[in-house]
C-alpha cells in the first residue's frame, strides 16, 4: 500500500511538472530569426549628366587646403560614381514593416568624421535612438550643427569640437529624412543624417546598396537623394531569397 502511494505521488508530480513546462513554453514569445540572406540589393543609376559640382576653395583653413592640394574637392550634392552609379542615396523600407522589425534599433555605432574639412561620410543612415559618434580628425576646430526641422521631435544642436576633443555621442529620437548638418566655422561643410525606421542601405561609389535582415513580406522601398528627391517602388521579399530593386534618378 505504502509503495503504491509513493508511485502515484510521483506520477501526479511528473504530470504537473510537464503541464507547467508546457504552459510556460506556450506563453513564451518566440522571436522569428531573420531569414538568412533575405537582403535587398540593387543599384542606383543616374540618368543624364550630373550637375556641375563647384570646386571648394579652403584657403581660409590652410591645414585643410593643404590636404586637398593635389586633388581639389568639390561640392557633393550629386556624386556620380563609376558606371553611371549614383552615390549617397539612402534606400529604406517606408511601408510594410511589422511592429517589431520597425522598432528594432541597429546595434552598430556609426562614425561621423570631420576630416580635411569635409564630412565623412557625406550621407549617413541611422535608426531612431541609434547611437552615433562625431569625431574630429582635423588639426582645427569644427562646429557641428545638425538642423532638424524646427518644431519636430528632433532638436537642433550646435557643438564646438576642438582638435583632439573626445567624440560626441548622440542619437536622434524620431525618424526624419533628412537632417542637414553644417559646420559653423567652415561654411562649405555639408552633410545629411537620414533617420529611418527599420533596415536601410546607402549606395556606394558604384551606386550599389544592400539592405540586410529584411523579414519576408511585401514592402514599399524609398530611395532618397539630397537634391534629386525621393523615389519609391514595391518589392516582395521571400524567405531566404535575396531580392533586388534598382532605381534611376534623372539629373535635373
Amino acid at each position: 500500500m505504502k509503495k503504491q502511494a509513493w508511485y502515484r505521488g510521483l506520477a501526479i508530480f511528473s504530470a504537473a511538472l510537464t503541464l507547467i513546462f508546457v504552459f510556460v513554453m506556450s506563453q513564451r514569445e518566440v522571436k522569428a530569426a531573420p531569414a538568412s540572406g533575405a537582403g535587398i540589393t540593387g543599384t542606383i543609376k543616374l540618368e543624364g549628366t550630373a550637375p556641375h559640382q563647384r570646386p571648394i576653395d579652403m584657403s581660409k583653413e590652410p591645414a585643410c587646403a593643404a590636404v586637398h592640394k593635389a586633388n581639389p574637392v568639390t561640392t557633393e550634392n550629386v556624386v556620380a560614381g563609376s558606371g553611371g552609379g549614383l552615390k549617397n542615396v539612402v534606400v529604406y523600407i517606408s511601408e510594410g514593416l511589422s511592429g517589431s522589425a520597425e522598432n528594432e534599433v541597429a546595434s552598430s555605432k556609426p562614425i561621423w568624421d570631420q576630416k580635411g574639412c569635409q564630412y565623412i561620410p557625406h550621407v549617413m543612415g541611422l535608426n531612431p535612438n541609434q547611437h552615433f559618434e562625431v569625431t574630429n580628425s582635423d588639426p582645427t576646430s569644427h562646429n557641428i550643427h545638425p538642423m532638424p526641422k524646427p518644431g519636430g521631435p528632433n532638436h537642433e544642436w550646435n557643438k564646438s569640437q576642438p582638435s583632439g576633443a573626445p567624440p560626441i555621442d548622440n542619437t536622434w529620437q524620431a525618424p526624419e529624412v533628412a537632417i542637414h548638418v553644417k559646420c559653423n566655422i567652415h561654411p562649405w561643410m555639408s552633410g545629411y543624417m537620414v533617420v529611418v525606421k527599420g533596415p536601410y542601405g546607402v549606395s556606394d561609389d558604384s551606386g550599389s546598396f544592400k539592405i540586410e535582415n529584411v523579414p519576408p513580406g511585401s514592402y514599399t522601398l524609398t530611395a532618397w537623394q539630397e537634391t534629386l528627391g525621393t523615389q519609391t517602388q514595391k518589392i516582395t521579399v521571400a524567405a531566404g531569397k535575396p531580392a533586388t530593386a534598382d532605381f534611376t534618378f534623372k539629373a535635373k
Binding site: R54, K60, E61, T75, N143, S160, H180, N184, I185
Partner: protein, 267 residues
C-alpha cells in the same frame, strides 16, 4: 613710503615708454598708397599722447615726493584762486589737443573715405558672413548680377545667392574665397554683410572697416607690394570669430590675369 611710490610711478612710466621710443614693436611694412598718412597720424598721436603721459606721471611723482611725510598740523598751501581755474584750463588744453589731432587726421581720413575711386578702379565685392569672407568679381562684362538672399546655399557653393540662369549679368561673375588683386591698381571694395556685424582688416593695407548689416559700404585702395596678406575679422561676430579670415593675394598684372582666368573656370 610716499617717496617709494613716487619713484615707482616714474620708473614704470619711463620703462613703458622705452619700447615705443626705441621702436621695438614696429607695425608690418605698409603696402598701400594711402597708408603712410595713417602711419604719420598714428606716430603723431603717439608722440603727443606719449609726452602728455610722461609729463603727467612725472608731475604726479614730483607732487607725491614733495608732499609725502608731512608733519602733523603742517599747513596745506592752496592754489591761488582755487581749483576752478586750473580745471577749466585743463579742459581747454585737452579739448585743443583732441581738436588738433582731429584737424590733422581729417586729411588722412578724407583721402581714404571722401574721395571717389578712379573711374578705372577694379570693383571687387566682399561678403562677410559667419565665419568667412567671400569675394565676387564682375567678370568680362564689368557688371555684378543682382543678389537674391533666398538663393544663398552654401552646400551648393552659391555663397552670394546668384541666379545664374535668370540674370545675365551674373553669368560671368566670379566668386572666390581668396582676394586676388593686381599690384598698383586701384581696387574699389564694395562691402556687405550676410548676417551680423563684421570687420575687414588688413594690417599691411592700413585698412580697417566694419561691415554693418543692411548697409552697402565701400572703400578704395591701391596695393603696392606683391605678397600674401591676412584679411581678418576684427569685430566680434560669434563663436567662430577667431577663425574668420581670408587671404589677400597681391599679384603682378600677368599673374592676376592668369589667376582670375583660373578662378573663372572653377565657377
Amino acid at each position: 613710503m610716499g617717496k617709494l611710490l613716487a619713484v615707482t610711478l616714474v620708473v614704470i612710466a619711463i620703462a613703458s615708454a622705452v619700447p615705443i621710443v626705441a621702436h621695438i614693436w614696429v607695425p608690418p611694412a605698409d603696402i598701400s598708397t594711402h597708408g603712410y598718412q595713417i602711419d604719420e597720424q598714428l606716430s603723431d598721436t603717439m608722440v603727443e599722447a606719449g609726452i602728455c603721459f610722461l609729463a603727467a606721471q612725472i608731475v604726479l611723482g614730483v607732487f607725491i615726493w614733495m608732499f609725502s611725510g608731512r608733519k602733523p598740523g603742517a599747513r596745506v598751501r592752496t592754489f591761488p584762486g582755487g581749483a576752478k581755474g586750473l580745471v577749466g584750463a585743463a579742459f581747454v588744453l585737452v579739448g585743443l589737443e583732441v581738436l588738433i589731432l582731429g584737424a590733422f587726421g581729417k586729411k588722412a581720413w578724407a583721402t581714404i573715405y571722401f574721395t571717389p575711386p578712379a573711374a578705372d578702379a577694379l570693383p571687387v565685392q566682399v561678403q562677410a558672413g559667419q565665419f568667412a569672407f567671400y569675394f565676387r568679381y564682375p567678370g568680362p562684362d564689368g557688371k555684378f548680377g543682382p543678389l537674391h538672399p533666398d538663393k544663398i546655399n552654401e552646400a551648393n557653393q552659391n555663397i552670394f545667392g546668384l541666379d545664374v540662369d535668370a540674370d545675365k549679368d551674373s553669368k560671368d561673375d566670379i566668386v572666390t574665397a581668396e582676394m586676388g588683386v593686381p599690384i598698383n591698381k586701384e581696387i574699389h571694395l564694395l562691402m556687405h554683410a550676410k548676417d551680423v556685424g563684421h570687420s575687414f582688416y588688413v594690417r599691411e593695407l592700413r585698412i580697417q572697416q566694419d561691415f554693418v548689416p543692411g548697409l552697402d559700404l565701400s572703400l578704395h585702395f591701391t596695393a603696392t607690394n606683391v605678397g600674401r596678406y591676412e584679411i581678418v575679422c576684427t569685430q566680434l561676430c560669434g563663436l567662430g570669430h577667431y577663425n574668420m579670415k581670408a587671404y589677400l593675394n597681391v599679384m603682378s598684372q600677368p599673374d592676376y590675369d592668369a589667376w582670375i582666368k583660373q578662378q573663372a573656370t572653377m565657377q
